[in-house]
Symmetry: C2
Subunit: 160 residues, 2 copies
């Protein structure tokens, strides 16, 4: 798999990455102007960044409210046991729930933090009662409802 390879990239590549994170729909011609190269080598660099796995994918970002998704939450989850089998089983269940858009294993009080998005509070409650809390590995849960989102950047700060 070679998943932890350090790939080298220079200042120009870094600039390409910054631009494509902020705006994936830029044309190669415009991108090449912005970074000060001609289109051909610009495209080469982008392809290399894709092939090396530095660029994983491209996504459209939607407005949750405009598609009828009014409630987002973070949920801290504790499992009944912390062995690999339990965690795997839990993850398998979580993967099958599209409303759970993130799942991270964390240090601290809980074991996992989930990000969940749903239509409204009613739908959220139903989801939690009928799906999440039904997972047998789940011990306790603590919800934090998002009142408003002030920052949601898709641009990672690339270290020098």
């Amino acid at each position: 798999m070679d998943n932890s390879v350090r790939i080298k990239f220079d200042k120009i590549d870094r600039r390409i990455l910054e631009i494509l994170q902020a705006n994936a729909k830029i044309t190669n011609a415009q991108l090449s102007k912005d970074i000060g190269l001609s289109p051909a080598p610009t495209l080469e660099r982008v392809k290399k960044l894709e092939q090396s796995g530095i660029i994983k994918s491209y996504h459209a970002k939607l407005d949750p409210e405009k598609i009828g998704l009014g409630v987002s939450t973070f949920v801290l989850v504790s499992l009944i046991g912390h062995n690999k089998g339990n965690i795997d089983a839990f993850m398998k269940e979580i993967n099958g729930i599209p409303e759970v858009i993130e799942c991270h294993h964390i240090t601290g009080t809980g074991d996992f933090i989930l990000k969940i998005i749903s239509k409204d509070i009613t739908a959220y409650q139903k989801l939690m009662l009928e799906k999440v809390s039904e997972i047998k590995e789940v011990d306790s849960m603590q919800s934090m409802v998002i009142l408003s989102t002030f920052k949601d950047s898709k641009v990672l700060p690339i270290p020098a």
Copy 2:
């Protein structure tokens, strides 16, 4: 601003949104095949979805580890006061810190939850000490370090 308008979209639009969330780089020709329309009306629909603000933007997703970002955290932040002035001041500071990629106002114990990404634990500590905890509106903070990420979906579940 007209920010909370309900825009109507049908089943075809919903499929377009699902596809573009998962893969923004699909060609219009391929997209039109997938949804069973010809290229022209397909493109029209995409443009309308963009103009209405349902599609907000397009982003490249990078591999954090491959660009040298090894530590991600969630941080619960409590402010010293909960009035609008304090919150605005806090938000202004947060917006100036690129390592803070998300900031949500939440219910529950804390006031805010941040998602922070940095090079390593040392860089994280430095960031927290010198930037975040220096914000004068901040009272207390509680960090949760992400050990591993099992799910990080860029596809929102669009309600029927």
